[in-house]
Symmetry: C2
């Protein structure tokens, strides 16, 4: 479970381009392709690298509007219950329990405002949701993958 400087460089390199070949990554870190592969295999086995994914322009998939929705929940609502509800609603792209007056924050991606209204209706229909408070995203300024931090 030890991550050294070379592992970090490998992660950064694959964070920039997950389809980069092991030979290319190896050139950056002065290692042979098999050595890089073994490290990547190890990092995956250890759960450091969770996977590799395509980065998609949300607009291309019809998700052109975003919002943050604060959830105010009934007294005995468990995080697991909120999580299950969030997964049921495809508009929810991320969900967090939080400190402060709200119990959770959901990040929603929808096609337009009327779709947002629908999604909010659906969320408020969940048994444990007392009320919601929405903040509309005017523009996405930046999003940085964890690998490039």
């Amino acid at each position: 479970m030890q991550i050294d400087a070379i592992d970090r460089k490998i992660i950064a390199s694959l964070g920039e381009d997950a389809r980069r070949s092991y030979a290319d990554v190896g050139a950056q870190v002065a290692l042979s392709a098999p050595a890089v592969k073994r490290r990547v295999d190890r990092l995956r086995a250890e759960g450091v690298i969770t996977g590799f994914t395509a980065v998609i322009a949300p607009a291309a998939l019809g998700g052109t509007t975003e919002a943050f929705v604060e959830l105010f929940c009934a007294g005995r609502t468990s995080p697991a219950e909120i999580r299950r509800a969030a997964l049921r609603h495809p508009e929810v792209v991320a969900a967090y329990t939080v400190s402060g007056d709200a119990d959770a924050i959901l990040h929603l991606r929808v096609s337009d405002i009327s779709h947002l209204e629908e999604a909010l209706e659906g969320l408020r229909a969940e048994r444990f949701v007392n009320s919601t408070r929405s903040t509309i995203v005017l523009s996405m300024l930046m999003e940085r993958p964890a690998a490039l931090t």
Copy 2:
């Protein structure tokens, strides 16, 4: 700039595993490897697929604490200015301008609470920031890549 059902399946497949071979993806969508490659090339050229990245467990890189920070800015602050500031602070993993009383929401990933305090100091030192309001994330319930929506 047209995306058909096969494109969508290809995006979903590479969203699940960006290092999957074109032959494997082709097997899922009943297309040959060259045909899949041409579609992926086209989707990249059109900006639908922005890139491919490694998904990293934030904890492995020392980012075990998260927070949402609302920014209240001086009257004449442009989104571009907020964006530049967000990029300057490595703790900021995402930034959005929003409707409502705050001007922007920043998503921060830090190693611990004292690191959060430092990061907040840094943000408040920006000329255009009048004040901030922070919400600590208690637990990340789910995060869904855009490709799997």
